[in-house]
């Protein structure tokens, strides 16, 4: 594969899609040992040990039933048919057949129980695994989501978990029962004929050597196949999410090319897998024939010499078949094992992902039952990337019920201030206090429960408008919801939607405008009736008319709460008690509207630009 990174820009575009440009090469060898992975997988099966025990019993019985058949064959041959040929007596056959049928019936029952139990354990394990993965995603720091790739993360929870489920469900226990078959067969074979057994075993070492020999090749081939399918998903995800842009710019052809590239990589990887699997299959078949021939040759000479009977040879042939099957299975098992381990590694990698922002341990965790709303930023410095401070030595105290506006150019660090307050990130230096408590010591739930945030991107879920609004307060009544939506001016447009409050928000909320999304997100935050209300560009896409309604309603709402408002539209912030102007990670100036206008600094400059200049220009 030819991803070397670097090179000219044009060639890079041809060489590979962006998702492959980074880190792929490094991943070719596994970092975690199989032993560790297995240990952790076993932990997931342990809770089902009772069922496992029943299953083991069923399998043992099944194996024994299987082992008996060749022996019975030997008996029917040597003890019923051969004497019968001389005496003409067939009566022995009838009771013998009865036993065979009884065995078959028993085996059927065993099979049924076995299949169901195996599936039960495999699927239940994967259920737990998915549950844990999902839970992990709920506590993972936001940093991961800012960096991570949605497609890849999803692939771990879906595809990888699925592979693992197949492995745990169908393969692993089968191998155990086959092991029983192997040892049982060996025992019975030795008891029938010592020499013949030794001869039969001649080809076994080769049988075992073939998979070992191909081990590392198979491993990396499977891993490549896995990675390439994740690539397909990733490109697909991006194209489908960005389809509107793709079409608006008529980029269908180029996108088709990009997809063709990853699709082709996947095809190539899959064909390599196919080649190796077919080759393996052939190798095993040929070794197996050698075994058959040797047994036949030696067996016949032994019969001719009078050392064994034909019944014994036939029983041996049957045993060898039973013997070969587990080995063939082992080979298949090896494939699945490889795939499963690769999947398990990716799963546990996600589970082990370090959580940067950790909740304090339960013993010294502060639960804030009541909040006054005093916020203090104490000498805060923050860097997303080491050496590039986004906030520099910020000191700011916001009193309870104060209405503060953060103003400043894009990238000044306003949203970061809020991210630190909600503890989505921890400051590099300094601390944030709420009512004198370092947010570092407060439980996530009690910290965030007191805050209502309307974030910039106003993400909505694929659910009804009503459910979206009461997302933070599931017990809210329709009346409470309507009260809130009236305040933010959303009630009217919601009622105009095809199904009013029951209208489903589609993925990406494409069926309503951004302004409408913001109003719903606004209602959602207000419904919680939080002590601290944070509006991060909450109404940037709301039309001027609606904005007027909101401003009137807000006056009342913001009374008796601490509020932080980030807005570029200065008409929104001029009524704030205090305006904090942030520039390049530092507080440039502070004061109310009148003070700042008089001062003639950055704020008045911004304000004049927004309101005065057009008049001069026109």
């Amino acid at each position: 594969m030819g991803f070397h990174g670097g090179g000219g820009i044009g060639s890079e575009q041809r060489r590979g899609p962006p998702w492959m440009r980074r880190d792929e090469k490094k991943k070719s060898e596994r970092k975690v040992s199989d032993k560790n992975l297995l240990k952790r997988l076993i932990k997931y099966i342990v809770p089902f040990r009772q069922r496992m025990a029943i299953l083991a019993l069923l399998m043992l019985l099944g194996s024994i039933a299987g082992l008996l058949t060749p022996l019975l064959t030997q008996i029917v041959f040597d003890n019923i048919i051969v004497p019968g040929m001389v005496s003409g007596d067939k009566s022995g056959l009838t009771w013998w057949v009865m036993i065979m049928v009884a065995l078959a019936l028993g085996n059927w029952g065993l099979n049924y129980g076995r299949t169901y139990l195996i599936s039960w354990i495999g699927n239940s394990t994967i259920y737990r695994l998915r549950e844990d993965l999902f839970a992990k995603l709920q506590v993972l720091s936001l940093k991961y989501f800012a960096e991570g790739d949605t497609g890849r993360t999803m692939s771990r929870v879906t595809n990888d978990a699925e592979t693992l489920s197949r492995f745990l469900g169908f393969e692993i226990l089968d191998v155990i029962s086959e092991a029983v078959t192997i040892f049982g067969s060996l025992f019975l074979m030795f008891s029938l004929s010592f020499n013949l057994t030794l001869v039969s075993l001649l080809t076994i070492p080769i049988m075992l050597a073939v998979p070992l020999f191909m081990r590392s090749r198979m491993r990396s081939t499977f891993r490549q196949a896995r990675q390439s399918i994740a690539g397909v998903t990733s490109v697909l995800q991006e194209s489908v999410s960005g389809i509107r842009v793709v079409q608006a710019f008529s980029r269908e052809t180029q996108d088709a090319k990009t997809f063709d590239y990853v699709n082709m990589q996947n095809l190539k990887a899959n064909l390599r897998v196919a080649m190796i699997a077919a080759f393996f299959h052939m190798g095993i078949t040929i070794v197996r024939v050698a075994g058959t021939v040797i047994l036949l040759w030696y067996g016949v000479t032994q019969i001719v010499a009078g050392n064994i009977t034909l019944g014994v040879l036939i029983a041996f042939q049957l045993y060898m078949m039973r013997f070969m099957r587990p080995i063939m299975m082992l080979a298949n098992f090896y494939n699945s094992y490889q795939e499963a381990m690769a999947g398990a590694e990716r799963i546990f990698e996600l589970m082990d992902m370090k959580i940067d922002v950790e909740e304090p341990p339960k013993t010294r965790r502060i639960e804030l039952s009541q909040v006054n709303g005093e916020i203090k930023y104490d000498r805060i410095t923050f860097e997303y990337e080491p050496g590039v401070p986004v906030l520099k030595d910020i000191n700011l105290t916001i009193s309870p019920n104060e209405k503060v506006a953060f103003v400043g150019p894009t990238g000044a660090g306003k949203t970061t201030m809020i991210n630190l307050l909600c503890r989505f990130y921890d400051p590099t230096e300094g601390a944030v206090f709420i009512d004198g408590h370092n947010v570092h010591d407060v439980s996530f739930n009690s910290l965030r429960d007191h805050m209502g945030i309307v974030p910039q991107d106003s993400f909505l879920f694929q659910n009804t408008v009503r459910e979206n609004i009461r997302y933070g307060k599931p017990e809210a009544t329709d009346e409470e919801i309507a009260n809130v939506t009236k305040v933010v001016g959303a009630h009217d447009f919601i009622n105009r939607l095809p199904e009013g409050y029951d209208t489903m928000i589609r993925e990406g909320a494409t069926n309503i405008s951004i302004g409408q999304r913001q109003l719903i997100a606004f209602s959602r935050a207000l419904l919680k009736n939080p002590r601290i209300l944070i509006l991060d560009e909450a109404t940037s896409s709301v039309d001027p008319y609606t904005e007027l309604i909101i401003q009137e309603g807000l006056e009342k709402l913001l009374e008796n709460r601490t509020s932080i408002i980030i807005a570029h539209r200065l008409s929104t912030v001029r009524n704030a008690d205090r305006i904090v102007v942030i520039n390049q990670g530092e507080i440039a100036e502070m004061g109310n509207h009148q003070q700042l206008m008089k001062k003639g600094g950055l704020y008045s400059h911004l304000y004049n630009m927004q309101f005065r200049e057009p008049e001069i220009e026109s």
Binding site: I9, S119, Q516
Partner: protein, 594 residues
Amino acid sequence: MGSFLRLMRYVAKYWHLFIVSFVLIIINSYLAFIPQLVMRDIFNALTPPFDSTSVLGMLPVACLTIIVASVLSGVFVFCRDYAMRYVSQRALYDLRKSTFDALLSKSFSFYDQSQTGDIISRTTSDIEQVSRMLSMWIPRIAGTISTIIVAGGILFSINYQMTIILLLQVPFVFLITNRYRKLSRPIFRKQRKIFGEITTFLQQNIVGTRVVRIFTQENYEKGRFNDKNTRYLNQMLASAKLRGFYPTLNTLIMSVITAVLWWFGGGLVIDTFGTLMEFKWGDLVLFIQSMSRLTRPISFLSMSIRIYSQAMAASTRVFEVLDAEVDVKDKSDAFNLPSIKGEVKFEQVFFEYIEGKPVLKNINLTAEPGMTIAILGATGSGKSTFINLIPRFYDATSGRLLIDGYDIRDVTVKSVRKQIGIALQEVFLFARTIKENIAFGNPDVSMEEIIEAAKAAQAHDFIMSFPNGYETIVGERGVTLSGGQKQRITIARAILMDPKILILDDTTSFVDTETEHHIQKALETLLKNRTTFVITQRVSTIKNADKIIVLENGEIIESGSHEELIVKNGIYTKIYSTQFAPQEELTTQEIKLR
């Protein structure tokens, strides 16, 4: 069956490989039978009283025959396996490709109604399931049928009664398998559906993490996920129950038939011993071994049926995507829109997403080339829909839209969109370099042009502040940009198209005042000679527009220049005076009084 035939069309391209595989399969079913026939001869020769030297003399030739036949068979199996997997992987590739192409051609209305996660699972796991069926099911079915015929024929010539008993298994297996298929199919369909739901939910959760955390709904999310997870588990177990019962019932039938073979065949050996029509024990062993040889292919058959039903359910879902209707498409006689001057004319345009709920009503408007039209209106008044009609993201329900006098439904979609630059309200950047994002509509432009566009959109400076400049990768795997930065890249992307018609849908809402001011200035020169449609909250843009239209409930209620509208003293005047005019002199009370 419809899905199946359609699938076959994807495979038909590789018919020569198919024929090769089938020939190999048929030859192989004979080759694979040879060792047993050879052993039968030897065992028969061992019938007492036997001649030691002649038996031992048979051995070398017999063993050589077995070896040659088996090695050949191994090679053939290799070729067959690879050929079939090749075909199925190719088909997978083709199917995915055509699905992706179909996705690219679907209209906006398709995406309005579908969910990304669902589309993705159809295009990945569903298609893979189909491919698995192709690589496993087809060779196995062919192999089984060919084995039954070849082996059946040879066995029939040895003893017809035993052959009939042996083949009794086939109808049983078919009946059982058929029943199994009928019962399992709906379950598999449900499984796929729930799995699609899980994927969608997961994606939502990942994309919306921030909201989940802000509202401390982690437990609620977990609950909902586990609910789906549980439903999936239940469906998996339901299918396991069926799988435990029916296929193993097949095994039971086969064991019983084997027992009958022993009983009948054993009797035959005893009865015919020493007669002319002797049925020797070697024959008996051959039949018993043939039984176990057939057991595996036939039980594969039942497994294949399971794969078949899963694959059919999956392929139906794939074809649903392929077949989804494309509303906006080129007419058969569509021609390319020639280079335009930029006149846009709405003639009695009505539009409804849902029948009976018009979003736009009787829109009449002419935008002369070079004009700037500002669109103002409350949330949901139809502003975005209005501009979505110009690049034909949707077609008007009635009325027509003309560009330079051409009805846009008469020309090719591509030629229209190529001449329109759009910065959508929905900011979407690809996880690629900034440079690639800006040059998205125009990948062949020079670096200078890209920088020029970025400068006009006030994006150059912040781009250069990244260590990798224009080569910085944005999005999930790269640098996270703020809303305003994203919007500026979007604007640069639209500008770079050098379009005659430019559409800016609320593209500066996240941009700070100072930057917007600069963008505004740069746009002033850029907008010359371009027809521009702007939706914005910004006063300066609105005031400077040649024409302002105010939309209310899908109708144009006011239209004219700033000066014309201000005199009218209508809605525009009210909005202007409360929101746009400088008013530090006024108190909140006074604002309310207006």
